[in-house]
Symmetry: C2
Subunit: 451 residues, 2 copies
């Protein structure tokens, strides 16, 4: 059986950039930094240029090709000037680049095979003085650069590759996993990849780490890592409970059974539509997919809205008596899906509605009077200490709920609501499997779920 050390060594070799890659990256970064400094001077700005991110800290995975340069402006520039001059410098440095918008605009482009971001920000004194989230990034790089040695860098690469392998690397709102900064802080905190895994295997969430012991507030998150550069910020704020649980699960798994496979994203061959149909059929649920056009928004907007809408529709189904066994949402650039399995396609025509205890006079009398003359209800009668009625249900099939305006009474993401309003298709049971051409991976994960 392979040892943990043996596996770690093999993976480390794969993910550590070769000397050639390092040199080319360093050369490219130096050239771009010089260009940016010259452009700053051309614009008479008394600023500086800083390389940030994993390529600045020597913690990138072999083959990653991101160079992040931050152009720092004095704080007496107003925002409009910073953006205008910042973008102008970006276009000077990256003549073929184009503008993107995160919290504020920046220029992104390619240079000698590297993906380059050129981001204007303010040179604030402390991370707590930031004017926008990007101002914080240089502090992160500075903090880590001062503390990392080559062993740390190897262990950080291993941990990042491990997070990628188990599908939880990235603090975007689609993934809700671990950011690179968070990954590096955790390795530093526990003194290496293996001790971090050993600790994570034993974590009892919620838990809080505070490397600089300067936290001033508490967070309602499963994992809190107080930012060493900002006592008011949780670096792990985006991490979902499920992804934290996945880290714990696979930490135990890797320690118990060291192997390289865990470091590689699962690459399961998707089932074909017949196999998916057969699996769904064997569950004897009522399965239904709402299929609609994906709204044209970035993933960081799309996925939160998909999840909110999924929960809203699930709550709507349950409030109408359709209990869900499981559900899922997935999307590509063109089509998006909400998938539900409910325990029954139909409900009774009546639903029980318990009133107040008869002994709570005012409420009880109000309830009784409301229903006593209502011919459509059964009761009021008395069960235990309460009045009870059975009211007619307007909706008695899942289809009647999903294929009606009722769908729009639940909490939906704004752009999802618009998209559904433009039209959607319902596919039932084995017809869902015909989505396999587009969503074979997602449907395979649904009918054969893994941690």
């Amino acid at each position: 059986m392979p040892t943990f050390e043996g596996v770690a060594e093999t993976v480390a070799e794969r993910v550590t950039p070769e000397a050639d890659e390092r040199e080319r990256l360093a050369a490219a970064a130096a050239t771009l930094t010089d260009r940016a400094k010259a452009a700053l001077a051309d614009h008479d700005v008394d600023g500086d240029v800083l390389q940030v991110g994993s390529t600045a800290r020597g913690t990138w995975l072999a083959g990653d090709r991101d160079i992040d340069l931050f152009v720092r402006f004095p704080t007496d520039y107003d925002r409009a000037d910073l953006e205008r001059i910042g973008l102008a410098i970006g276009h000077t440095v990256l003549p073929d680049g184009h503008e993107e918008y995160a919290e504020h605009p920046y220029v992104t482009g390619e240079y000698e095979g590297f993906d380059v971001d050129l981001v204007p920000c303010y040179a604030v004194e402390r991370a707590t003085d930031i004017r926008s989230a990007v101002d914080r990034t240089p502090f992160h790089t500075e903090y880590l650069t001062e503390r990392l040695d080559d062993t740390d860098r190897t262990d950080i690469r291993l941990f990042k590759r491990f997070l990628k392998g188990i599908g939880v690397y990235g603090s975007d709102l689609r993934t809700r996993g671990f950011s690179g900064y968070l990954a590096e802080l955790l390795v530093l905190e526990y003194g290496g990849f293996e001790p971090l895994l050993a600790a994570a295997a034993d974590w009892h969430p919620p838990l809080t780490l505070d490397p600089e012991d300067h936290g001033v507030t508490t967070f309602d998150d499963p994992l809190t890592v107080i930012d060493p550069t900002d006592p008011e910020r949780n670096v792990a704020a985006v991490l979902s409970a499920a992804n934290l649980a996945r880290l714990q699960h696979y930490a135990r798994d890797l320690l118990a059974d060291p192997r390289e496979g865990v470091f590689d994203p699962a690459d399961r061959p998707p089932l074909d539509s017949d196999e998916i149909a057969a699996k769904l059929d064997s569950r004897e649920t009522t399965a239904v997919a709402l299929v609609f056009d994906t709204p044209d928004i970035v993933d960081d907007q799309l996925y939160p809205q998909l999840r909110k809408s999924l929960s809203g529709i699930e709550a709507g189904l349950e409030s109408h008596g359709f209990d869900t066994v499981r559900n899922a949402t997935f999307a590509d650039d063109e089509r998006a899906v909400f998938l539900f399995e409910v325990t029954t396609a139909t409900t009774p025509a009546v639903e029980r509605h318990a009133g107040p205890p008869v002994g709570v006079r005012e409420h009880a009398e109000g309830f009784f009077e409301t229903y006593a003359t209502d011919e459509a209800v059964y009761g009021p009668f008395i069960q235990g200490d309460r009045y009870v009625v059975e009211r007619p249900r307007e909706i008695t099939t899942a289809e009647a709920f999903l294929d009606s305006d009722r769908l729009f009474e639940v909490g939906l993401g704004a752009r999802i609501e618009t998209a559904l309003d433009a039209g959607y298709e319902l596919r039932w049971d084995e017809d869902i499997a015909s989505l396999a051409d587009r969503f074979g991976v997602e449907l395979t994960e649904y009918v054969d779920p893994e941690p």
Copy 2:
């Protein structure tokens, strides 16, 4: 609109025994008392004979024909002698009588049109010294007789008739309502029928009344009335929450809309089987009746066992995924019924089973290991902070549960279990209506329930 006083007066006239009835009852009671005293002397017992119950206290309803005589033995008789001599005296007093058993044996028979019970008991000094429940009865009669005047007696008759009208008179375990003694104590406590109703309309159960202010313990009952003759006893222990709620409901009803009808048991014409079938059908539930032979036990054993079994089967249905809308049980001397309406006749082939949070390592690892190699389950996968699996259900139809040994895995009354084991029939949906010949009243109440 009739006034409360007017209605009360009319009903009081109906329920107050005429002079002739009083005289005949008094004469009969006197004759029987003399006979019993003579018999005591014949057996050389230094005891006495006491008339108890509502006919002793002058609080019986016109037409009731119960005479209860208690033959009190000195406490130095052992139980066997008391029973032997007590029954012998009973047969002397009531030559055509026969023996019955409550907590201990007594003789019951007819005399000049009256139903007579002749009950041997011990002459204990205080109600707290009793050797069996019947020893307490004379203290109740003594306590009330000392305190009641004619106005009280009229109000007690009104209240008892009211309790009968609304179906909650009787402390037997079928009714779980108000005993005569409890009814009389309540009228005394509130100073009359109308003030009692006004108070009951405002009660916030649970509540405790303690006429002698000597209670020494608390009870977990919706209504507690500490026995004036025994500080450790709740006179209302048998009263169900629903029947207390009914009293409150109809107290408000009668005060708001005084009318004689409330004093008469509802005598609704039962629906015929077609009407019942149509009503059941319109509810679009899955209705099922278990029909079986009524075990040959007294009502005080039968009804608690029926209710326990009903709850047990309901819990069994729900644990297999069949939520009930409503249920009922009823019986006559020959046949007994459990009636359930479930929301669906079938469940999915899988059921969700949530495991421990992944962060609770020992439990989580145990759960994961249990299911990871189980080909029959979906998962384990991670939802939120937990492992989850979907397990196959063995039972996927309500019929498969009800028509199998699974039925006997739930909590059943002992004699009900035996009776079901001897055989039962399942009737579904509209076929249930064919029970209307035997249980028309019960089925009518089911499909058209009232408070």
